[in-house]
């Protein structure tokens, strides 16, 4: 796939970085609407992508929200999207399963490919497409039914009624979501009675029950307390290696704790994309440095 050209980077970590200098040039260029090529670390170019985002642009009416995003999302890894509010990270995530189709004024160009299949191909069946992905939102949204029925919901609507199959998927998914031990004795009670953190892990269990090719998490911990957040973060770490996860987070420590790769976005553009350890110890751009050290945003 076509990754945007390299640029001459301005090295991060110069002495001024310690004296709170917020870099303005590149960010100003972005704000002025100029094209600024993304800085993509070499290790990202070598990944096997589950999802390829290819020169993706998106407009809400006349306002462009995403500008030429090109990035591979690696297979069986956790990729975090970070950036200040309004940078387009949620829009990008929601574009992956075409949730933005529901917004009337949206127009897009470019494409995304899920395991090689064009997501924005006019012939693509959106319902079938969404079955291939799991999505978890900020606020836990368990269905008003039992824990068991929540988890096996996807199988039920696909017509699966074999009790043994459903039982097995239910247990495996709840175990996968690190929730089994807490709920195994009350599987047939209402999911609404669970705590917020449990509800969110239930939503993740429901998502992985359908064996998604990619799991989309949109700030999955922002409505949770620190303990529940810790559990969900632990869960995300356990999913790594088994699922391809794309997570949007406001919390930089969450990105650094849970992800393998991190992409920094600003005003609808991809600014820098690399391994999480690279982004958090040795970012190439001063702008990324300033953002991850909390000096702006």
């Amino acid at each position: 796939m076509n990754i945007q050209a390299e640029t001459t980077p301005e090295r991060g970590g110069n002495p001024e970085a310690f004296s709170a200098a917020v870099p303005a040039d590149r960010l100003q260029a972005v704000a002025a609407g100029r094209d600024v090529p993304a800085e993509v670390h070499p290790e990202v170019r070598e990944v096997t992508p589950v999802l390829e985002i290819d020169r993706f642009n998106l407009w809400y009416g006349g306002k462009q929200a995403l500008h030429g995003i090109t990035m591979p999302i690696p297979h069986n890894k956790v990729t975090a999207l970070i950036g200040p509010s309004g940078c387009g990270k949620s829009t990008l995530l929601r574009s992956v399963n075409r949730l933005n189709d529901l917004v009337q004024s949206v127009r897009i160009t470019g494409d995304m490919r899920l395991n090689g299949d064009s997501i924005y191909d006019p012939r693509m069946d959106v319902i079938e497409l969404r079955k291939r992905m799991g999505m978890v939102f900020q606020k836990p949204n368990p269905f008003p039914m039992s824990i068991y029925e929540n988890v096996v919901y996807a199988l039920r609507i696909d017509g699966e009624n074999n009790r043994a199959v459903l039982d097995e998927v239910c247990e495996l998914s709840l175990r996968g979501a690190a929730l089994w031990d807490e709920v195994k004795d009350r599987l047939h009670e209402s999911a609404i009675g669970l705590s917020g953190g449990q509800q969110q892990r239930l939503c993740i269990a429901r998502a992985i029950a359908a064996e998604p090719e990619v799991l989309l998490l949109d700030e999955p911990c922002s409505a949770l307390d620190p303990i529940a957040t810790g559990k969900v973060e632990e869960l995300i770490q356990e999913l790594r290696g088994r699922y391809s996860v794309l997570i949007v987070t406001h919390n930089m420590q969450q990105a650094s704790r849970t992800s393998d790769y991190t992409a920094f976005m600003y005003l609808g553009r991809l600014i820098e994309y690399g391994s999480t350890s690279g982004i958090f110890t040795k970012p190439i751009l001063r702008e990324t440095e300033a953002y991850v050290t909390g000096r702006f945003g």
């Binding site: 090295r11 970590g13 002495p15 310690f18 110890t281 040795k282 440095e289 909390g294």
Partner: protein, 219 residues
């Protein structure tokens, strides 16, 4: 929160520089004491080492506090980690200055023995390196740090020269063996000080550029 960590980092920088200044002073005084056979000055160097040790502990606690409370990343993280290591090296330099000072008293008490002229040059070179590596810390200057790395070779050579000279002298004047061994160990201490300055220079390169250059020949 943002401003807090910046303030903490500034504060830490001031502290490590204070340790650096004390250590630089201790080294320079120990060398002066050595050259002038000034036992009083040597005594003062030994007495002041406790202050360096105390400040080293404080700086380390400060670093641990920042790591625990602010979880710094990127340049901030590299700064704090480098300070932890620089701090450790500075403290050891302080100990080496104290060791040199200790030898001054012994040399003055023992048989009269000429210092080889190379000691003076070597000590100057090592002191320059200490000064430069501290400047590199202050300015976050990787070029200066690289220069310090290169200067270490001259000090190592001087040290070998002194060692050979001491061996010859011992053969010629075996009765002076104790003093000569002291001279030899002084040169060893000075060489170690230059090595520590090199370590600090390498930490500065990591701090600023994020590259770990240790165990690589200087280019």
């Amino acid at each position: 929160m943002t401003h807090h960590i910046e303030r903490q980092i500034e504060h830490l920088k001031e502290r490590i520089l204070r340790v650096g200044t004390l250590v630089e002073e201790a080294i320079s005084k120990s060398i002066t004491a050595l050259i002038n056979r000034d036992t009083n000055l040597a005594q003062r160097v030994m007495a002041n080492d406790g202050e360096i040790d105390r400040m080293e502990v404080e700086v380390e606690e400060e670093c641990l506090k920042i790591l625990a409370l602010y979880q710094p990343v990127a340049a901030d993280l590299r700064f704090v980690v480098s300070v932890l290591k620089i701090n450790n090296d500075l403290e050891r330099m302080g100990d080496l200055a104290r060791n040199i000072a200790k030898r001054v008293a012994q040399l003055t008490a023992g048989e009269p023995c000429e210092l080889p002229p190379e000691i003076r040059t070597m000590a100057m070179q090592a002191q320059d390196m200490v000064k430069e590596c501290l400047d590199a810390v202050v300015k976050g200057d990787p070029l200066l740090a690289r220069q310090v790395r290169e200067e270490d070779d001259a000090v190592d050579e001087a040290r070998q020269k002194i060692r050979r000279r001491v061996i010859q002298e011992i053969k010629a004047n075996p009765e002076n063996v104790e003093s000569l061994l002291r001279v030899n160990s002084v040169s060893k201490h000075i060489e170690r000080i230059a090595d520590m300055a090199t370590n600090i220079a390498e930490d500065v390169i990591y701090m600023v550029q994020g590259d770990i250059v240790r165990h690589r020949s200087s280019d």
